[in-house]
Subunit: 366 residues, 3 copies
């Protein structure tokens, strides 16, 4: 399952819909719980509570000061709400390019071979917002690489940038000459040249790692030269036998606040069926902390930087610092569309609505 | 005890005093330890060490370069010290308004009912410093809500603001339609209207949670629409049977650096008697980390986001990130006034003295 | 071993060399691993991969778009690389002054006596970059103080500054009057005077602590009035019986991004022989987080703020927040020069090369 982060039926659920509006109506429909229906317009179950247009106050507890809300403020509140609504209705907004796609290796004499071409591209982070990116294989984040403990791996970097570069396999315990630090462990990979990294994925070093440039890195990683490098264990623990395995790369650099290279509402939801287990692999490639908060269900933290924690522990807000990886398990025991966002609120919401580091975990009854 | 964060005798100790100056003298008096008395003027036990006025050097180790300190620098040092002293002598400074007060519910047919009115107020964060706040029931933080596992709870939000709003119960695992995210799980609560949240406090979900706006939240939470939501366990663990249960909400937004809505010296001390156990529930509603440092005694961390850690662990500086809650226990085994502050020093001290995220744990012999 | 953070043979290895260039060549020589030699010029083992000068592409996978790299960009890339190389070749660059040196006490009637003189100095953080510092005994960080559980300790502060000051022993559980907070636990120590702190290093309070000014601290600590205060245990645990015991103090204030008072390439490498165990005691005296990333080998976290974690746990990137101390063990099982840096990349690298919070762990075959 790990090669298919989003199961096809969930993708159908999300994308096989006539319009954004009907999508969210569908999504909301799964959120029925105990008879009350969460809704996006004033015309349904909780209508009794909402009488905004005439400003006459809620029915449950009429409030004396209600009249203080003037027509003017209502009107400006309506305008703000309309912007907020439009953002959410647009989710997941379709943009050009998708990062973090699993890259299938070609196998040569038992070696898994991955080719990564670094070059400058235009990258759409939100609908209509294109930025300069330096990307591996035209993706931000770069392609997701998944190998297994003990695999022989070859990663060939083709540098089509105007600067030298290199790749550091962050968290992977390699021989020194494969460590990817120019002038310390190798020469820089000059523009127009290639460099081959070859190594065995170390036994015992399974888990969530990363690869990224280690040359002029504040700029090069900031512009997109980064990706997930996952070493799958030979013998998975019971706790990591999950239905959905999702890599979530956080960033905050020159492309704005992004999850897997996109800002809300162009971020990708995570989808699961009721009763399924989801593993989220948080990776921070930015320069700020991002305490990720999941609504509705807690997360069980199992790994730090690919290493098992002595005992799993629970939380709903997990602080992910630059360079860190944290793996968590979510038991999807509650249907609905659950907001999932950075809790540094200015990374997630403005007067114009939610943006940046916001996505959702959608648990369907399907 | 949990409904009375500060035991009355401690409150008497703090507030039932003739003057700020005598207060701190009293506080200092409890700090006697092994015969040496900590003091706030040059006229007591450690006087031998302090001969500032004539700049003749300490008696314990006369130092050749003493004469380098000119009268000019001494005078400016004296001015600085006077400002620092004035700040500390003013603690706890009386300001208008007190946030985070426990709100007693009204009980209707077995349901605990809480009414929260959101409206714009003026809030005094320090003596003489009034800021615009958006507050629940006129308090910043909003009233503290304490329910018990399994309780049926109704929270009625009356929106008297000029913007729509909503309440998200952060950390509480509710049905989706009670999750409080406009356009995803409910319509926004328009100005002049009310909205009713009703749910059962989930079994197993006890601990330190929060409630806050989830609409235009970077602004609305930044202005004060937040509060503590505590679910008390049906069967408390031995380690959480404490004498003082203190909620400490950290913030850093438009109101400056605050603890429970106030900046030092207007912050509230925590008080306990020698031998008592204090639980501190840290909650970060801001957008920066706040590594909270307690002087003199360590903290034993028991819970993260309301969930028990696999094993308690000790520290003296606990990094609290936005959205996180951490619960710690302090065994008050040392009398005295113990500084308790954020260790990002610019959040706690300036040339004019301590300010912002500073308070004290006062352990009395009483 | 704990009194000698860097074993003499390693120091010889690092400093007893004819030139910086030959140093790094030597260092690289230890990095031989499985026959491939990591190299710093185009003239060795991985030469086949590097054909930058003629821009004809790597030999392993000639790439069609190679020709896109123009002579212009190559030339500017070469200039950038030259700057990066120069920085690394300069490491460890010799600067005036060395902080964090272990201070031997004088013993008076069984009391370990340390004298600390606070005064304004010029401090060289990088070659040619002198800054104003406020320092203890002319060092930034101040001298490292190491005592043992149960030791009677006297620390005499001589204030030769133009401001009052004080010392707080951060993490050490002292009687209130030794806590070092002016106007709360003692009078400020005026310019030209001295103050004596005397206490017994508390049993059970062993580990990595700090001392620093607690008066006008955002400025005074920012300018350098800080140091390590280590309490060695009477009975060390097996896991802390190490070959190299290294204190790494992180800072980010007025002196720039520093490790033990210096910015790369003037930082000091940590050196160990293959098979040795290194303990790193991270201490953050700054105002930002610093997630420290070690290449090539993981770190086993044993202590937080001097207190044993319930169980050791592993990572390669450890987030250290202001005021925190974290102790880790590294089993040096892989030879080579391993980059060791803050993973907030703008704290570690610019267009001009690595700088600031970067050092290396050098594991020699010796």
């Amino acid at each position: 399952m790990s090669d298919k982060p989003i199961p096809p039926e969930a993708t159908d659920f999300l994308y096989g819909i006539a319009s954004r509006r009907s999508f969210l109506r569908s999504a909301a429909a799964v959120a029925v719980s105990g008879g009350a229906l969460a809704a996006c317009s004033a015309s349904d179950a909780q209508k009794a509570n909402l009488t905004a247009k005439d400003a006459s106050g809620g029915t449950t507890a009429p409030h004396p000061a209600t009249h203080a809300a003037t027509a003017t403020s209502l009107s400006s509140a309506e305008q703000m709400d309309a912007m907020h609504e439009a953002g959410i209705k647009a989710f997941p907004a379709k943009t050009e390019g998708k990062g973090n796609q699993v890259l299938a290796p070609r196998v040569e004499k038992g070696v898994k071979v991955y080719e990564l071409t670094a070059e400058r591209i235009q990258w759409e982070t939100e609908v209509g917002k294109k930025v300069e990116a330096w990307a591996y294989n035209g993706q931000v984040p770069g392609p997701q690489i998944r190998v297994k403990e003990g695999d022989r791996v070859r990663v060939i970097l083709h540098n089509k940038l105007t600067e030298s570069s290199s790749i550091h396999f962050h968290g992977v315990e390699l021989p020194n000459d494969m460590d990817g630090v120019p002038f310390i462990t190798q020469p820089p990979v000059k523009p127009g040249t290639s460099f081959t990294y070859e190594f065995t994925a170390p036994a015992g070093n399974q888990g969530s790692h990363m690869y990224h440039s280690h040359h002029n890195a504040a700029k090069q990683v900031g512009l997109g030269l980064l990706g997930a490098f996952i070493i799958e264990p030979k013998r998975p623990r019971k706790i990591e036998q999950v239905d959905v395995d999702y890599v979530m790369i956080l960033n905050d650099g020159m492309h704005g606040y992004t999850i897997n290279g996109k800002g809300f509402p162009a971020t990708e939801p995570i989808t699961a069926k009721l009763g399924q287990k989801v593993r989220v692999r948080f990776m921070n490639e930015g320069m700020m902390i991002h305490p990720m908060h999941l609504h509705g269900m807690h997360m069980t933290v199992i790994d730090k930087d690919g290493w098992a924690q002595p005992a799993p522990w629970k939380c709903d807000t997990l602080n992910v610092a630059p360079g860190e990886r944290w793996d968590v398990i979510v038991n999807c025991n509650k249907p609905g569309v659950w907001a999932f966002h950075c809790h540094v609120l200015p990374h997630a919401e403005s007067e114009h609505g939610m943006f940046g580091m916001v996505t959702a975990l959608i648990v369907t009854r399907g």
